[in-house]
Symmetry: C2
Subunit: 177 residues, 2 copies
């Protein structure tokens, strides 16, 4: 069987076997204030702080979070740090010390100059999840009932980064000709 | 046991149980040219194209890629699409039609205005992976031997987005006081 399910100009059908031990580990976003971001990602989205790393020379800290349902997270610090760098779907938040007290505002990538767009969480029940976000006072870019895609919402994190909310069972058909 | 391994101002130790069925599904980056990006992410990094979605009205296409080692990817299209929206560590690439022929250049978030920083791949042998990237002509932001962190490299994708390359077994100690 060819490696790729979908063929498309550019797609390599037989990549070097060594690549198959690579892991897409994390995405990094800069944040202004770790206290408000950690509150949001842990309380609103249920992420777990796996590891904080401090770099005094560069005056920054890194916070690594993930959804860990059903996974045994190592208690030993060095082991947990290796686990953090080796697993899938980690979110790294970078805090440059002092930004919570100055006028730092980060760019979410969705106005010029554009680039990065959003992160996305899948939820089992998008109506229930969005009602919960409303009750928690979360900001919306797009509510379910807005626009043409009624199964998808976009909320924002405390820095204004967009977070798409999808329900996989409702999205087997979108975008299909 | 408290939910979080690391406690920190802001961290919620007992998040709402419903959040534990949420999945951090994907990160989205805009790309200029799908052919060159699909070549890079499949041939250089070994990602598999799970699904392409076309939106004629909005004149854009979405490409969803993931590392799928050892996973059974559904062949049925609707089932595969639900799988794509439900699994971890997906990379979504957004192509606004025509950008490959005009002067579109996307912003990688690492010069002003800053925000998003990078994505990261974990590899079993960072020396071997970096030698392979060199042989393939991949561009570097930081080679292993540059700077103070000798176990970490940064390469770029075809749009200039930064990709960190780490070897988890070598990174159990960085950032520790």
């Amino acid at each position: 069987m060819a490696f790729n399910t979908e063929t498309q100009a550019g797609v390599c059908l037989e990549p070097d076997a060594v690549t198959q031990d690579y892991v897409f580990n994390h995405s990094m976003l800069r944040i202004k204030d770790p206290q408000r971001s950690l509150d949001f990602y842990s309380r609103v989205l249920g992420m777990r702080l796996l590891r904080r790393l401090d770099f005094a020379e560069g005056k920054f800290s890194l916070y690594f979070l993930a959804m860990t349902k059903g996974e045994a997270v190592p208690e030993d610090v060095a082991e947990r740090q290796r686990y953090t760098f080796g697993r899938q779907s980690v979110l790294e938040l970078t805090h440059n010390w002092g930004s919570e007290h100055d006028d730092t505002q980060y760019h979410n990538g969705n106005k010029e100059p554009r680039g990065f767009g959003h992160i996305c969480f899948a939820v089992p029940d998008v109506q229930a999840a969005c009602a919960r976000f409303e009750a928690l006072g979360v900001n919306y870019v797009k509510r379910l009932e807005q626009g043409s895609m009624r199964n998808i919402a976009f909320i924002t994190d405390p820095d204004g980064y967009w977070i798409e909310i999808v329900q996989p069972s409702l999205n087997g058909e979108i975008g299909r000709a």
